[in-house]
């Protein structure tokens, strides 16, 4: 008998717990040659803003030991072009699409939520709060519980779609951030975004990235992500989506044990564009070979 792989994220039923992470899978279409998009649990779009954004100057990426730093600077086509040019493609596939977005003021977040709420092809919203609040002197929304609460509350009011908040790991207390977002109405939490890091080129005596710092992703951060998922999953009632360095089905299953209801595959798609599809298949094989009838049996099944 085929095991059940579907999971529920704040009212969105996913075919399976494997999604692709924002900013690492384009808008999905780019990867159609390398995997069956319909086999995925979900696709999270590149982060969207109200207006198109140029992003940062180059170099924008650099490899590190077991990971990479990126300072793309949230380059994106903007929500209008997204709706006009990317959304139609989603009618041709049968996969849950979740729109990731960000703003620099609470008003921008709210307006984006309002716009995206109207798009039937978008099943849910993922709010990226790892952005500086321009109105409050650049303090990052994602590192201050009160600011995060305000953003999530504003988004919540604008949409009836499930709201997923993506947490920044650059904090002392990830649980406090998680609680603030849930209190403000988040239906689920994505844990984690990238960790701020830096690389230096000895020869030129300059930072490698034009932006000086960037976000660390890839297998190097997996232990930190796993710890944060475990902490958050114990503290909140809403589903947690585990993200950070997932390369294999084993990695994904570890996140489920730690308490994640689903996972997102990020950097792995750069190394192997079919990674997310492969992980879906390997999870199914694992369930069959272990005689597990329902993937949800594994969620939070860690014995401590």
């Amino acid at each position: 008998m085929k095991p059940n792989c579907s999971v529920d994220i704040g009212g969105i039923s996913l075919k399976n717990p494997v999604m692709t992470a924002s900013g690492t899978f384009g808008y999905g279409q780019e990867f159609a040659d390398y995997l069956d998009l319909n086999s995925l649990g979900g696709i999270i779009t590149k982060g969207l803003s109200l207006k198109p954004r140029a992003g940062n100057p180059t170099p924008r990426i650099v490899e590190t030991c077991g990971g990479m730093l990126n300072a793309i600077g949230l380059q994106n086509v903007g929500v209008d072009e997204f709706i006009a040019r990317k959304v139609p493609f989603y009618r041709t596939i049968d996969t849950t699409v979740i729109a990731n977005f960000f703003g620099t003021t609470i008003e921008e977040y709210a307006e984006l939520a309002r716009r995206l709420d109207a798009i039937p092809e978008v099943a849910g919203l993922e709010v990226n709060i790892s952005c500086p609040n321009v109105k409050q002197g650049g303090i990052v929304f994602g590192t201050d519980p009160a600011a995060a609460f305000a953003v999530v509350e504003a988004v919540r009011e604008m949409t009836i779609k499930p709201v997923i908040v993506k947490l920044s790991p650059n904090v002392t207390d990830i649980v406090a951030m998680a609680r603030a977002c849930v209190e403000a109405g988040a239906d689920a939490l994505s844990v984690i975004n990238t960790i701020t890091g830096m690389a230096i080129d000895l020869k030129s005596r300059r930072p490698v990235l034009a932006n000086i710092t960037g976000g660390l992703s890839g297998p190097a951060i997996k232990p930190i992500a796993l710890r944060m998922v475990w902490q958050v999953a114990q503290a909140v009632e809403v589903p947690v989506i585990g993200i950070g360095g997932i390369m294999t089905a084993t990695d994904a299953l570890e996140f489920l044990l730690a308490g994640a209801t689903a996972v997102q595959v990020g950097t792995a798609s750069f190394l192997d564009p079919g990674a997310a599809g492969r992980i879906v298949r390997e999870i199914e094989q694992y369930l069959v070979s272990e005689g597990i009838g329902d993937v949800t049996e594994l969620i939070g099944a860690l014995k401590v």
Partner: protein, 277 residues
């Protein structure tokens, strides 16, 4: 496409410069000159990312790995500059590689009537050889090759075997003229007519070539390099500024997807030190 490949041969041509031939599925022979590959140089996470390499040649041959008929293959020409390329240089016949490609947009040959001028610097000759092989079937092809020293000028014999006339300049004068290849090029362009330029090499050379093309008003395609993570337009790590770029009206192009070959008019050529525009 993504495919597993076996190394057929891996030879050091000149100190630090290697030529590797490896198996590839038949569609590889349909690659366009200027397209590239993303190669995973080893199975583990060190290094983590794939490495981009231009296609130097493709073909079909009988190998020990195939029982009957011929095996299609591809070749790359590469310079050992860091960890990943050092690992490539350590591979042997029969070793396995994981390859993504052909990727990106290659060169556009254009009107066969005109003279085709290839401008290559150092390892930048790699994709130009594949291009030359296609161009010589219909056009007169010349090569202007530059490099630091004689060891940096590769495969000139291969180009000449194709019937390509070649001019060489080195910074130290150990081969051909002393100086920049663009100086020789400029002298030639003064007399050439209906020429098209195809350039690949370090950024300062590409800038100089684009400048020459602008001055002489000849078409010019340049093949760029950039740090790449995905090679397929997903990470936005590899962008360069397009001609319309400005702070308030961004015009970024992906080297991996919109390039690596661009018409020089499509790009914003900034002043200042080389580097990625």
């Amino acid at each position: 496409m993504q495919f597993n490949s076996l190394v057929i041969s891996n030879v050091e041509l000149s100190p630090g410069y290697w030529r590797m031939r490896m198996t590839a599925p038949p569609p590889i022979t349909g690659s366009k000159p200027g397209q590239f590959l993303m190669i995973k140089v080893n199975g583990g996470s060190d290094p983590l990312l794939r490495r981009p390499f231009g296609i130097f040649d493709t073909g079909a041959m009988v190998t020990e790995f195939t029982d009957c008929g011929s095996q299609s293959y591809l070749e790359i020409l590469y310079k050992v500059v860091g960890k990943g390329t050092a690992m490539l240089a350590a591979l042997h016949n029969g070793d396995r590689l994981d390859i993504l490609g052909p990727l990106g947009r290659g060169f556009t040959p254009g009107d066969p009537a005109g003279e085709k001028i290839l401008v290559g610097g150092g390892i930048g000759l790699a994709p130009l050889y594949f291009l030359a092989r296609e161009l010589v079937t219909g056009s007169r092809v010349r090569l202007f090759a530059g490099g630091r020293s004689r060891e940096d000028i590769l495969c000139i014999t291969e180009f000449e075997r194709l019937g390509v006339e070649s001019y060489v300049a080195t910074d130290d004068g150990t081969l051909g003229d002393r100086g920049f290849v663009t100086q020789v090029l400029e002298r030639h362009l003064a007399t050439a007519h209906n020429a098209t330029l195809f350039a690949c090499g370090p950024m300062p050379m590409l800038k100089a070539t684009a400048e020459v093309a602008r001055r002489h008003n000849v078409p010019c395609q340049v093949s760029l390099e950039a740090y790449m993570a995905c090679g397929m337009g997903a990470c936005l790590g590899c962008v360069v500024k397009g001609k319309d770029h400005g702070d308030n009206h961004p015009d970024y192009r992906c080297v991996c997807k919109d390039g690596p070959v661009f018409d020089h008019c499509e790009l914003l050529w900034e002043k200042g030190e080389g580097g990625h525009s």
